[in-house]
Symmetry: C2
Subunit: 572 residues, 2 copies
Amino acid sequence: MLLLRHCRSLTPFSPLNIQRRLVTPVVASCAVRLCSSRSEDQRFYYQQLHSPYWRYGLAGLLAGTGAVLAYGLHHHKAERVDTSVLSEEKTSSFPTISQEEVTKHRSLEDGVWVTFKGGVYDITEFVAMHPGGDKILLAAGGALEPFWALYAVHNQDHVLEILSEYKVGELSVEDLRKQQAVKSSDPYSTDPERHPVLHINSLKPFNAEPPPEILTDSYITPSAIFFKRNHLPVPQVDPASFQLHVEGLPGGVLTLSLQDLKTRFPKHTVTATLQCAGNRRSEMNKVKLVKGLNWGIAAISNATWGGAKLRDVLLAAGYNPDVAQWAHHVQFEGLDKDVTGTTYGASIPLKKAVSEDGDVLLAYEMNGEDLPADHGFPLRVVVPGTVGARNVKWLGKIIVSAEESSSHWQQNDYKGFSPGTDWDTVDFKSAPAIQELPIQSAITTPADGSTIDRSQETVTVKGYAWSGGGREVVRVDVSLDGGKSWQVAQLQSSEKGLPPGPSPPTGQAWAWKLWEIEAPLPPETQEVEIICKAVDNSYNMQPDSVPPIWNLRGVLSNAWHRVKVKIREDEE
Amino acid sequence: MLLLRHCRSLTPFSPLNIQRRLVTPVVASCAVRLCSSRSEDQRFYYQQLHSPYWRYGLAGLLAGTGAVLAYGLHHHKAERVDTSVLSEEKTSSFPTISQEEVTKHRSLEDGVWVTFKGGVYDITEFVAMHPGGDKILLAAGGALEPFWALYAVHNQDHVLEILSEYKVGELSVEDLRKQQAVKSSDPYSTDPERHPVLHINSLKPFNAEPPPEILTDSYITPSAIFFKRNHLPVPQVDPASFQLHVEGLPGGVLTLSLQDLKTRFPKHTVTATLQCAGNRRSEMNKVKLVKGLNWGIAAISNATWGGAKLRDVLLAAGYNPDVAQWAHHVQFEGLDKDVTGTTYGASIPLKKAVSEDGDVLLAYEMNGEDLPADHGFPLRVVVPGTVGARNVKWLGKIIVSAEESSSHWQQNDYKGFSPGTDWDTVDFKSAPAIQELPIQSAITTPADGSTIDRSQETVTVKGYAWSGGGREVVRVDVSLDGGKSWQVAQLQSSEKGLPPGPSPPTGQAWAWKLWEIEAPLPPETQEVEIICKAVDNSYNMQPDSVPPIWNLRGVLSNAWHRVKVKIREDEE
């Protein structure tokens, strides 16, 4: 116990926590983010990341996403956690405590109790020492398991040792059974483990984005931190018995196994950026509340996808140009279902689906490996240049049709409206389903609210830029004076240090560009507003401000991105 | 003479001028526009149009473009002008006057002298009575012929009668010969007659746009008022001996006569909007001077084009998909030449040229008639969705190539740059040639600076909206409070009163939409800022303001369009 008390003075860089040093700032940020109101969190999160206290840890974190990903190695350990400590305790004479009693202890005032594998723990005194910060309060009054499952860093023997010090009782057998029953009846119980670095917007269904600084640390986003956007629980699909059904073409229904898709059609790889329609919704929420997940700027990622061309599969199913006389859409149905059995669904224009240059893939690989469960294992459609929502995951059925998908997400969601349209006046039929997305860019470094020392003289500004429909980003302008003057950033279309890839053919620029500029700090000011705006090769520009593009669903948030940073003057 | 003096009190609605009533405001506006500084003109022009004085005439003018076009009927009269008055005068004993002497009389102070067919006229006293206003001063000290040729309304017997009253002498024979010689050596001397309603930005080469109110009076812009954008003199092309050469394909050079184009290939018609890259440049000029013609908001028009598909002609010349392995561009050369013999030229991506859905035409018809001389007679390329500059007129040669056109207009012009780029720092190689244009819209009614009576209670706002690349305009938002709140306008995709045309296939929305909204006048304000902004089906939006998209060539001016109107309160 005495040893543990010392933790307070040792964190975050005690020898005990040597491995935790890199992940600490991120975990801390997640915690803060989940526990307090959103706009405050972000400020605090970024302040944390950029305060001198965390700088050392952050430097390591940003040195390479590889470092962050190392924590993924702990995932599998979760399955074979050492319960010896707990078994040993079971022979002791701790009192039996009901879940009702545990539930009463959910705050520092009432005490913070948690359960873990049938044990009850009063961790009130540990809260302040928790390397992950206040996030631990999310588990107060309930079970630790779901949180530790998300943040695999806990699955280490010394963490269990720490926990054992706080034991105060045994959960009643009846309540323990209930806990286990809840878990197994939870449709999300089979959702995969996720990388702890992700900022979670919603746990069930799981929606999360990587921290912005990490996002643009690599040109190809590692799958583990690629933003996750699930509408429903992740279905468990057996790749051996998986079947894809292709309907609506003269050849009748074509049914293909995963093996068929891999062997009967040439494999193509396409590097394509996917972006959620709601990326940057949080900026619209600041104008006026909208309906939807409060995405930051990182609901966008870039991966290399491998699979069969949808065009080839449609041709195999009997597609011919006559079909285009009556059919105008290709519908997709996922294997993910809600409680009524309704699947996720969407559609794209037939023209995009069958175009040789459309590059629509039935992808079974992401970044050179099988699709991860969160990204549609074993098969998803990747529609380059098109909003994420049409890139249906866990793809089970393709229907060539005269009509768009009738799904909620195609008909009554993911559409843009005028700022003057509200939920009383909206007519979803009056707007087209979002397909191609407009020009977008954002600043990932420095973070909003961070502080720069005047002695640095310059600031390095980094970010991403992308446009839908295969339109190539041709320029990113950056302003350090709130938009009065502009400098042109350096564009990057491959991993840093590698030569740029070949220019994509006209209309097939599916991947984002990262960008960077080192700009002199403006003199005689203590706060700088940094802005970025991108231009694509149709010379579309981002709108200046959020309110005029505000819409009730908070989609298509692509105004100039702005961050404010403070300049700390030298003390002398 | 006495009769003429009475004109002062009779204009503009004297029985004498009954036919002039409709055209008067427009001619007046042209005059003001040409004689004073640009930004002032526009204000004055619009004030004129909307002052009660002109309202009656304007109402007639706007009732239908047909009324305006009626003046075109006078064109041919110019060729057979009645010179009886002048012949008669020649027998009289007017003194001989040199051009040098005439040139000294160029102002109201020094007297305003002009020449016409060898006669010298002191029209000082007539200036104030001129129905076309001060524009008459443009001719001061020189010949009337070029101005009367532009404004055919003068070619009427009673105008010659009026002129004869002011005769003061005969131009010396030597100077008359010089005048005629100048005319014949002028490379622009064979340029066609133009419609007098056009606002002229440059006479040589001829560049002009219609008045905004007339522009959106018809969905299909009549050819006579379709904006004119010439880089060089209009070439005289004999349709019988005309040849088009198609080069760079495996089949060798294919040479086609106009007859070949009309008979060997199916005729297609496409309704497509063309827009000059410099449309709305005047708004950029107000931020900071740019290089280029000071276009208002009407360097955009919509026509129905008829001709052979470029794709069909390229296939006939031997195009096959293997060509796309090495060729990426299709270059066009016009028959219009500068003094060094250099022709106008441009190129488009091969992909656009050969795409079945690209709808690129080798057009020999405009609005159901042979192409007018100003629009490329006998053949031009029409590249729907692409900036006007690539729609090469008087087309003489097509070259399939690995390279873009090397012409000045492709390489060192018609490109977009950051607002921070100036003529000292610009690197034209760093930006792509403009092809597809971004989303655009503007307000054509009411005019900036006009006044509305409070008693009207509502204001009808009208305009156009268009996007490049076949992207369809899906919404136009209108604000009457400077952008704080927005209403959705009614879109119109056919002539008013006719049913809307069928929705264009995805990616083939080549024609603009006109729009209209009747909105209540905001209470308790004497000035209203009306703004429009459009959205296309890739949900691209117009940028809010001009300065952040300002560029040294003043192209791509597509910020929100704003007009300010005054509300005149009722007198009671």
